[in-house]
């Protein structure tokens, strides 16, 4: 499982559709080698959760996901006794006239409901445990979490201490809504994902939406990059949004950007009315198109653009 070298891991990640730099690959590699949790931070939609998913594919193992939210407690994250089943058992024993109920039999493994954390610890093979949006949990739960992540064992009063059969690969993600404690940060290998540059975004789009075609992909990456550089936007478009946008344009049979299809699909990229208004009124769709054209190179490109404009921007289905 861990006999990959850094370049092999890098290639494997890309093969699975996760385009990343060597630096990211080194960070992921070190988390695997040092057996430490990987803490991934970054703006929403830059591919944090995807790290966990792609790792499970690269390592060809299961993915156990714990989605965090405010109020998440140990019962929902670790384990719970199956009360209904226990009650049912007592009831059945009573009715069959069995006087002495052996209490210990009610706390056997068959009455234990394993929640994600326990499931990951008890798994027979090394799984990937994805703890998503861990900044949403309350502080006491966070403290419990990092205790668990350092020992990988759990004490269940009725069953005793359960130790991990295989230490899982742990990936934590955070949107930075709440400052995580220094203790948790210290225990993790840290990966910060930023918005990609144009070239990287082109590669991501090529890997994920190849049907969009080279030209459209380049335009999408340029426009998205340009919008991200605009300070006035309330929310900058993420990779997830540029992927959605590309898919939407493909669905409309577009092979290059025009004012018309930009107008109809802008809401795929900007999920905020104010931002859309800003682009439409202040920046202007034409200026937005120009921003990506200025960066395109060569007279051939200009010629093709003209042809594209003449064709009306969209292929007729």
């Amino acid at each position: 499982m861990l006999d990959l070298s850094i370049p092999e891991l890098h290639k494997a990640l890309e093969r699975e559709g996760y385009i990343c730099d060597l630096e990211q690959a080194v960070t992921i590699y070190l988390a695997l080698k040092l057996g430490k949790p990987l803490l991934v931070e970054g703006a929403p939609g830059v591919g944090k959760t995807e790290v966990g998913k792609v790792l499970s594919r690269v390592l060809q193992t299961g993915l156990i996901r714990l989605q965090c939210y405010e109020g998440l407690d140990e019962n929902k994250a670790l384990y719970e006794w199956n009360y209904q089943r226990q009650l049912l058992k007592i009831q059945v024993l009573k009715e069959t006239g069995c006087a002495a109920v052996d209490e210990t039999s009610l706390f056997g493994p068959e009455y234990l409901l394993e929640r994600p954390l326990l499931k990951a610890i008890r798994a027979d093979r090394r799984v990937v445990l994805l703890i998503d949006e861990c900044d949403k949990v309350d502080e006491p739960f966070e403290a419990f979490l990092f205790e668990l992540l350092s020992d990988f064992q759990v004490s269940i009063p009725e069953l005793g201490t359960l130790t991990a059969r295989q230490i899982p690969v742990v990936v934590l993600t955070s949107n930075g809504e709440r400052e995580l404690s220094d203790g948790l940060r210290r225990r993790c290998v840290y990966l910060y994902l930023d918005y990609p540059g144009v070239e990287k975004e082109v590669r991501i789009l090529q890997a994920r939406v190849p049907e969009a075609g080279e030209k459209l992909i380049r335009q999408i990456a340029l426009v998205t990059g340009y919008l991200r550089s605009q300070a006035e936007l309330k929310k900058r478009p993420s990779i997830a949004e540029s992927l959605d946008w590309a898919r939407a344009l493909v669905a409309l049979n577009a092979h290059c950007l025009t004012e018309e299809n930009l107008h109809f699909t802008l809401n795929m990229l900007l999920k905020n009315q104010e931002d859309q208004d800003l682009v439409r009124s202040k920046i202007g769709l034409a200026a937005l198109l120009n921003s990506c054209r200025e960066n395109e190179t060569g007279p051939q490109e200009a010629g093709r653009r003209e042809a594209c404009r003449a064709a009306g921007g969209c292929r007729r289905a």
Partner: protein, 448 residues
């Protein structure tokens, strides 16, 4: 771990020290992790080393530019390092030569009184160093002064001259050091590293760290956008739901039933709903006197951002007296209009400061706000008349509220000349002259 060369552990330890000196928090455990990590990567590949150290030592995005700069400076290639040291050696040699020349020159000037100068007034190496670094004009002036004394018939002027010269040089030393600290001159390889983190920041991010007083007008739109983004993010955090029990001893039925299933459902062990953290009531008292006008503008903009994102803050401005400005924020107009309202309706802008009078007014008219759930945020440079009375009154109020947080736009190093010490007894005072400070204080110090 033992297999690695000792030079590597030394380099890591030194590098971590550089990071710490630049204001990055790195623990011993993290240093050891970084050291272990190096065993797994190709040490000859600079990108891999950089990525490994970054992943294990830098756990905050804001520290990344510091790391990048420190890494580039610290892990130089052999030639670059040689070059840096050669330059440093050349500098040292040139300095030594200058010192020797200056020593000779001064010795010649003092020559007639050589025997009369007591040991303690003889020029030290430090004095000579100062002399060589004086502007040429000052050097000339000093030499002329000594030369003039030559013809002086006073008995034994040697001691007097030596004392005068030494005093002048001591003054100049102090002055030069002060200027150097301000300009942060790099004079040796060691000096390259222990400089404050601000030095390393990415120019694109500079605006976050820039002193609010120095923000140029053309940077204002960028600043406004940044403030909006920061305040929206903070408001989201502040507005997280907190379930709050009506009574402190309310029974939590769900947990009680769970707990008592083992007793067949008979509630033997009761479970209570815990007291949930209550959101504090924020009260902002902002100094808008002449010296504070520019800072106040940004602080109010920040508060405007929080207000428009749903966080209620009672806001007051003061200079000679206090005025409540909360209603201006409640009208839900854009920032420019809100600020115009504020300026037009308030008579406090650009006046002198009387914090004591302002606090008196507050205590008299807004008594209700002095409550145990209130957090006071005071924005002021502490320059006020009647500061002793003001500090006394603030101390009294501080005992009745949850917390008093004082944001002082004057850097902490300059507090000694201000009545800040008196106010620090009753308020937590933080230096806050950039958006970075403002955001950090709101994020870490003000309870959500």
């Amino acid at each position: 771990m033992q297999n690695q060369a000792p030079e590597i552990s030394l380099a890591i330890a030194q590098f971590v020290r550089v990071l710490r000196l630049s204001g990055v928090r790195v623990s011993v455990a993290e240093t050891m992790d970084a050291y272990r990590a190096l065993a797994w990567i190709d040490l000859l590949d600079r990108r891999q080393v950089r990525a490994a150290l970054q992943a294990l030592l830098i756990k905050n995005p804001s520290d990344r530019p510091v790391f990048d700069r420190a890494f580039d400076l610290f892990f130089l290639s052999g030639e670059a390092k040689e070059e840096l040291f050669a330059r440093w050696r050349r500098q040292k040699e040139a300095e030594e030569q200058k010192l020797a020349a200056a020593g000779q020159e001064l010795a010649q000037l003092f020559q007639p009184w050589e025997d009369y100068i007591p040991e303690k007034y003889r020029l030290t190496r430090e004095n000579l160093q100062t002399f060589t670094r004086l502007p040429a004009r000052e050097q000339k002036r000093l030499k002329e002064l000594i030369a003039q004394m030559r013809g002086n018939p006073v008995n034994n002027p040697g001691e007097l001259v030596a004392r005068v010269v030494q005093a002048a040089l001591n003054y100049w030393r102090y002055y030069l050091l002060k200027r150097e600290a301000e300009e942060k001159e790099v004079s040796s390889p060691e000096d390259l590293f222990p400089v404050s983190a601000d030095f390393y920041r990415d120019p694109g991010e500079q605006i976050l760290y820039a002193d609010l007083q120095n923000i140029q007008d053309e940077q204002l739109p960028k600043m406004t956008a940044l403030i909006r983004r920061l305040s929206a993010r903070l408001a989201r955090r502040l507005s997280r739901r907190y379930r709050q029990s009506r009574r402190s001893r309310a029974i939590d039925f769900r947990r009680t039933i769970r707990q008592n299933i083992r007793f067949g459902g008979t509630p033997l062990e009761l479970r209570y709903r815990g007291r949930r953290p209550k959101r504090p009531r924020l009260v902002l008292i902002c100094d808008v006197s002449a010296s504070m006008a520019r800072y106040s503008r940004f602080v109010l903009q920040f508060i405007y951002g929080l207000n428009s994102a749903g966080q209620k803050i009672e806001s007051f401005v003061f200079s000679e007296d206090l005025e409540r400005v909360t209603p201006c924020f409640e009208r839900r107009r854009d920032f420019a209009a809100t600020m115009t309202d504020l300026m037009n309706e308030s008579r406090q802008w650009g006046q002198t400061t009387n914090f004591y009078l302002a606090l008196e007014t507050f205590r008299r008219e807004y008594k209700k706000l002095i409550a145990p759930d209130a957090v006071f945020i005071i924005v002021s440079d502490t320059r006020t008349v009647c500061w002793e009375q003001a500090a006394g009154l603030l101390g009294e109020m501080a005992r009745k509220v949850r917390d008093v947080i004082w944001l002082n736009p004057v850097p902490a190093a300059g507090w000694s000349g201000l009545p800040a010490a008196a106010f620090r007894k009753c308020a937590q005072m933080y230096e806050c002259y950039s958006l970075y400070h403002l955001e950090k204080i709101f994020r870490k110090k003000i309870p959500g």
